[in-house]
C-alpha cells in the first residue's frame, strides 16, 4: 500500500513515540487515586491521550489522498546552529562573553557555504564588541566578560 500523505503519517508516529516514552517514564511514578493523585497520575493520562491523538493522525494520513512528501531536514544549518549554541553554553563560564560571542558568530556562519571569510571575521569581532558594550557595560548583565585566566 502506498502512503500519499507521508508528512502526517510521520507526524503521527512522532507523537506516538513521544507518548510511549513519557508513558514508560511516567509509569515509574506513584499513580495514587483520583482523590489523592500521585506524581504519576497526570503524566500517565497525558501520555495516553498523546498516543491516541498520534494514532488518529497516522490513521487519517493513511486514508488521506493529499500528496505530501516526507519533509527534508536541512541538516547543515540544524547541526551548525545547534553546535554553535552548545559550544557557547559549554565555555561561557570559563572563556567569557567576548570570546564566546566571537566563537558563536564564527561557527554559525558555517551554516551556509559561500560566505566571504573576511566578512565572517569582521562580523564576529563586531558582534562580540557590541555584545560586550551593550550587555556587560550598559545593561550590567551578570555574565563573565573575559576568560578566567585573564587575571
Amino acid at each position: 500500500m502506498r502512503i500519499s500523505n507521508k508528512r502526517d503519517f510521520l507526524a503521527g508516529l512522532v507523537l506516538v513515540g513521544f507518548g510511549v516514552v513519557t508513558l514508560l517514564i511516567g509509569s515509574n511514578y506513584r499513580m495514587g487515586t483520583a482523590f489523592r493523585m500521585g506524581p504519576g497520575y497526570f503524566p500517565v493520562i497525558l501520555s495516553i491521550l498523546l498516543i491516541v491523538l498520534g494514532s488518529i493522525t497516522t490513521g487519517t494520513a493513511l486514508k488521506s489522498t493529499k500528496d505530501l512528501a516526507c519533509p527534508r531536514l536541512a541538516w547543515r544549518p540544524l547541526f551548525i546552529v545547534s553546535a554553535a549554541i552548545v559550544v557557547f553554553g559549554l565555555f561561557i563560564n570559563n572563556a567569557g562573553l567576548a570570546a564566546m560571542a566571537f566563537a558563536l558568530v564564527l561557527i554559525s556562519r558555517f551554516s551556509r557555504s559561500g560566505y566571504p571569510w573576511l566578512e565572517t571575521v569582521v562580523l564576529s569581532a563586531a558582534v562580540s564588541a557590541a555584545c560586550a558594550l551593550l550587555f556587560y557595560y550598559i545593561l550590567n548583565v551578570q555574565i563573565p566578560l573575559l576568560p578566567i585566566w585573564w587575571g
Binding site: 488518529i56 540544524l78 549554541i85
Partner: protein
C-alpha cells in the same frame, strides 16, 4: 464615577516624569525590535527583565508593557515595506500592506496602520478600565475547579485558533503540558522527567523553551530558504513621501479600524488569545463583509486597517487575564508575571485592590505609550527603513548571540543554553512536520497550575470529577470550551478555517 476616579489616579501615576521617560524608552525599544525580524518582544523583555530589578514595580511594568505593544506596532513597518513580518502577528499585515507598498502607496499604508493602531489602543485602554474590575471581582469567587476549567478553556482556545489540524494542535498542547511537568512535583517532592540532572529539578525555565522553539527554530528554517529573497521597496523610497489619505481611502479604512478594534479587544481577553489571533479574525471578517472580496491580497486598504487595529487591541487586552486572574495567556504575559513576582506582587484579583497605583498607572500608561508611538514613529520611519536593509546573513548570528545571552542571564545557568539548542532542533522538526508551536507554549506555561488545580479540585470533591459540572461558573467555562471545539469541528467552518490560514 468610580471609573474616572480610577483613570485619574492612573494618569497621575503614568504622567510622572520618570514613568513617561521609561514608557518612552519601552515603546522605542519595542518598535526597534518589532521592526527587526528575528528579535521579538519576548526575547527583549526576557533580556531587560534583570535590568528592571532596581526600578519601582510600576515603572518596570510600564516599560516592559511598552516594549510589548511597541513591537506590535513596529512589526507592521517591516511587514509593509519588506514583506517580512517582524513579529508573528504581522503575517496578516503582509498580505495587503506589502501590496500597497508595491503600488507606491507605502506612505498611506504606514499612516493607516499608525492611526488604526492608535484608535485601537485607545479603545482597548477603555475596555481594560471598564472590564477588569468586574472580572477581578468574579475571579475572587474562583476556586480550584473554576481555575481548572478556565485554563482548559484557554488551551482549547489556543488549539482552535491554531493553524492546520485540530488534532495536531491538541497534541502540541499536551506535549507542552508534559514539558511543564519536568522538575520537582510540588505536592510530593518527586523528581519527574529530570533524568537525574540536578539543574532540571526546578523545571525548565520557559524562556529556554520559548527562545528555542520560536527563535532558534526560525533561524534554522530561514537558513534553509534561498538567500536574500526578500526585496525592499523601501530602499527606493518609492511612495514613502506621501503622508496623506485620499477621501476614498479614509472612507474605506475607518469602518475596518472600528471593527478590527472591537474584534481585537474581545479576542485579547480570552486566555490563549492575543495579537495574532485577533488579526486573523479581523482579516476574515473584512473579507467576508466586503462587496469586492477579490481586492483582498491586492492592496485592499481595509485588509490592512482592520488587522493592524485588531492586533494592537488584542495585544493590550491580553493584559486583562494576567492582571485580574493571574493567568498568562501568552509567553510575554508569563514574563510579566515573573516581573511582578520579583517585586513581591502576587498576580491575581487582589492586585487591583492592593496596588491600585500599579494597576491603573499601567493602564493609563498604555494610552500615553500609544500616543507616543504615533507622534514618534512616523518621523522615524526613515531610520527603520535603513535598519531593514541589513542582510539576514549578517543579522542571524547577532540574533543567535542575543538568544544565548538572554537564556544565560535569565537562568544564570550555562547548561540551559545547551537545553535551548535542543528545543531549537525540536521546534525545527515540529515546523517541518507542520505542527504549530503556540499551543505547546501555552500548555507549558499552564502545565504546573493546571495539574495543581486538578488535584485540589479532586481532593475537594473526594475524587469525583462531577465537581467541574456541578459548580455553575465552572460548568459555564467548560460549556464555552466545548462549544468552541464543536464549532471548529463543523465541516463548513473547518473548511473556511483552512482557507484563511
Amino acid at each position: 464615577m468610580e471609573l474616572f476616579q480610577n483613570l485619574a489616579l492612573g494618569f497621575s501615576v503614568a504622567l510622572t516624569l520618570q514613568n513617561i521617560a521609561y514608557c518612552f524608552a519601552g515603546t522605542l525599544i519595542g518598535t526597534l525590535v518589532g521592526v527587526l525580524p528575528g528579535i521579538g518582544a519576548f526575547t527583549t523583555i526576557a533580556l531587560l527583565l534583570p535590568a528592571t530589578y532596581g526600578l519601582e514595580p510600576t515603572t518596570a511594568l510600564i516599560m516592559l508593557a511598552g516594549i510589548f505593544y511597541g513591537a506590535q506596532y513596529g512589526c507592521s513597518t517591516s511587514s509593509i515595506l519588506i514583506n517580512i513580518p517582524g513579529e508573528a502577528s504581522g503575517v496578516i499585515t503582509v498580505l495587503d500592506g506589502y501590496q500597497m507598498a508595491r503600488q507606491g502607496k507605502a506612505g498611506e499604508a504606514l499612516l493607516v496602520s499608525a492611526l488604526g493602531s492608535f484608535f485601537a489602543g485607545t479603545l482597548a485602554t477603555m475596555v481594560i478600565a471598564a472590564f477588569a474590575p468586574p472580572l477581578a471581582n468574579l475571579a475572587l469567587k474562583f476556586g480550584p475547579p473554576e481555575y481548572f476549567s478556565l485554563m482548559l478553556l484557554g488551551l482549547v482556545g489556543a488549539i482552535v485558533l491554531a493553524r492546520g489540524s485540530v488534532i495536531k494542535a491538541m497534541s502540541m498542547a499536551i506535549i507542552g503540558l508534559l514539558f511543564g511537568l519536568v522538575g520537582t512535583d510540588v505536592s510530593t517532592g518527586t523528581q519527574r522527567f529530570a533524568f537525574g540532572v540536578v539543574l532540571l529539578y526546578d523545571g525548565i525555565d520557559f524562556t529556554v523553551i520559548a527562545m528555542g522553539v520560536l527563535g532558534i527554530a526560525e533561524i534554522i528554517a530561514n537558513l534553509e530558504e534561498a538567500e536574500e529573497k526578500r526585496q525592499s521597496y523601501a530602499v527606493s523610497g518609492k511612495g514613502l513621501g506621501i503622508w496623506h489619505l485620499s477621501r476614498e481611502d479614509f472612507r474605506r479604512a475607518w469602518p475596518a479600524v472600528v471593527r478590527g478594534s472591537v474584534i481585537g479587544s474581545a479576542l485579547g481577553i480570552l486566555p490563549g488569545g492575543g495579537a495574532l489571533i485577533s488579526s486573523f479574525a479581523s482579516y476574515t471578517v473584512e473579507k467576508k463583509i466586503s462587496k469586492e472580496p477579490e481586492r483582498f491580497g491586492h492592496g485592499a486598504i481595509e485588509g490592512l486597517a482592520g488587522p493592524e487595529s485588531a492586533n494592537n487591541a488584542g495585544a493590550q487586552t491580553s493584559f486583562i487575564p494576567m492582571l485580574t486572574l493571574g493567568l498568562p495567556s501568552n509567553v510575554v504575559m508569563a514574563l510579566m508575571i515573573g516581573a511582578l513576582m520579583i517585586h513581591n506582587i502576587q498576580p491575581g484579583p487582589q492586585v487591583m485592590t492592593n496596588n491600585p497605583d500599579l494597576f491603573w498607572g499601567l493602564i493609563a500608561s498604555m494610552w500615553v505609550g500609544n500616543l507616543m508611538l504615533v507622534v514618534l514613529n512616523l518621523p522615524l520611519i526613515g531610520i527603520w527603513v535603513k535598519l531593514l536593509t541589513v542582510k539576514y546573513r549578517l543579522l542571524f548570528p547577532a540574533i543567535l548571540a542575543i538568544c544565548c545571552i538572554g537564556v544565560y542571564t535569565v537562568s544564570n545557568q550555562s547548561f540551559l543554553v545547551s537545553v535551548m539548542a535542543f528545543f531549537g532542533a525540536l521546534g525545527y522538526l515540529f515546523v517541518k512536520l507542520d505542527f504549530e508551536v503556540a499551543p505547546l507554549l501555552l500548555g507549558f506555561i499552564l502545565g504546573p497550575m493546571f495539574e495543581e488545580n486538578l488535584r485540589r479540585s479532586m481532593t475537594i470533591s473526594h475524587g469525583s470529577p462531577a465537581v467541574f459540572f456541578t459548580r455553575p461558573l465552572s460548568l459555564s467555562l467548560l460549556t464555552a470550551a466545548l462549544l468552541l471545539l464543536v464549532i471548529t469541528m463543523v465541516p463548513a467552518i473547518n473548511k473556511s478555517r483552512e482557507k484563511i490560514f
